[in-house]
Amino acid sequence: MKSIKNHLSLVIALLSILFSMQIFLITDRSIDAYKKNLADNYSVIVVSQKRLSNSDIMGINKIISNVEELSPDTIIKRFNSDIQSVNLELLKLTLPKFYKLNLAYYPSPKELKKLTSNLLHNPSISKVEDFSYSHDTTYKLLLLFKDVVSIFAVVVLVVTVLLIFKELRIWQYKHNERMSIMGLFGAAVWLRSAVLFRLAIVDALIASFLAFGIFMYISSSEWILQQFNTIGIEIVIFNPLEDFLIIIGVAISISTLLASLIVLGHKEEV
């Protein structure tokens, strides 16, 4: 019981750091996936007085991934009944050309403004419709969501760091006497602090495996997967290898940093 209690406080603190870190990663991935989704369904309409080649348009800005010329046939069909076919062909020639531009990724309002300006710089292009109002709203909503999650992660991190510092003081008190006694008999610093580092690494491993279990469960939860399906995105919630390596790395770094601070702050008492 005493042994569990010894480990529990650091394990919980580490677990909350790992949890907030992984939630931040999931949010980041979700936003990226959602942005990709939006980019796939988003396009800019360009009106040009002259016919432009695909390479001409794509050369205007690197963000343009695909160009599709819109056929004027659907508009012309409306006049079909009243105008003679010869006149229709003439009309087709005089009508401006419409292009639909697909983008490589979902741009920020600044990038979109730059794209519009670049396009309008071309003398043939007379109008660009970038649907900026709805675009800006969606983009700002995404940013807001990301900011809220980031603030939440930072708050959790700050609170946990404060908890860890409190834990550090308890550890300092607990290990000071043993380290001093070992020092009296000439134990080198590494030997004196070996117990401390062992404890720190064991706690980091416990917290990492708990986080692994929690996120494996979350990533296979039907309810969670359904939520992502509802918004039409598919992401890796938890990568058992890559994410676990990040988690274990962060946990071991924090706990060994904690142990090092105790060793550095140790004053020999006789």
Binding site: I181, M182, G183, L184, F185, G186, A187, V270
Partner: protein
């Protein structure tokens, strides 16, 4: 005879403006038994602390086991301490370790193989008559028994020097006698230098000893 301790114009203090030991000169031969006496607050324990490097000299030189303590590096100090056995009035045992592990501490620090260290611990527990208490924790033992554990720990690695700070201060007669016999035995049989800080020199001791008395910051030998 080799000198295990040489102090030249040694001054000791805890703060800048207060000197506890003031420019003392003395030396201690290897294999001798020394008592340091003095009134409370005279600086006996301070002097003992300086002998294992817990307090650096304010002035002068202090050489213990060939190591100049006023300028010794951390690693040199550790090296010296590995050859010293220390006994305190308040035992200084690691409470969360069994008494066996406490006794084993200097052996492990000195790189003994675990099996050899275990055998040595068994012998020492018998030596201090605590073999029936093996595996117990310090707080499960009486004060006298804890001091016998501390004594076994000090003897475990056959040190060249044993420093004892009022080792029998609060002990019952049985434990006190045993501690003195152990110190006497280490000095006679192993030729270990023993330095004891005490208020009272035991009358029953069968060993030649040197008596240093501290008064008003100076030290003098009592014949």
């Amino acid at each position: 005879m080799d000198k295990v301790i040489i102090a030249k114009d040694l001054s000791l203090s805890y703060s800048y403006n207060e000197t506890i030991i003031n420019k003392v000169n003395f030396s201690i031969n290897s294999g001798s038994f020394v008592f340091i006496t003095g009134a409370s607050g005279s600086g006996k324990s301070t002097l003992l602390k300086s002998l294992f490097g817990a307090l650096k000299p304010k002035q002068g030189n202090l050489i213990v086991g060939g190591v100049e303590l006023s300028s010794a590096s951390r690693s040199k100090l550790n090296f010296l301490r590995r050859h010293i056995g220390i006994v305190f009035q308040d035992y200084k045992l690691v409470k969360e370790w069994s008494i066996d592990k406490n006794i084993m501490l200097p052996l492990l620090i000195n790189g003994y193989v675990k099996s050899v260290a275990h055998n040595q611990v068994d012998k020492l527990l018998k030596h201090v008559r605590l073999n029936h208490q093996a595996g117990k924790y310090p707080l499960e033992l009486s004060g006298g028994e804890q001091q016998r554990v501390a004594m076994a720990r000090a003897l475990a690695h056959n040190p060249i020097l044993i420093l004892a700070d009022e080792p029998t201060g609060n002990l019952d007669e049985y434990s006190s006698d045993l501690i003195w016999k152990l110190l006497e035995g280490a000095n006679e049989q192993l030729k270990t230098t023993v330095i004891v800080v005490t208020h009272n020199i035991p009358q029953t001791l069968n060993v030649d000893y040197k008596h240093l008395h501290i008064e008003y910051g100076s030290i003098h030998e009592v014949n």
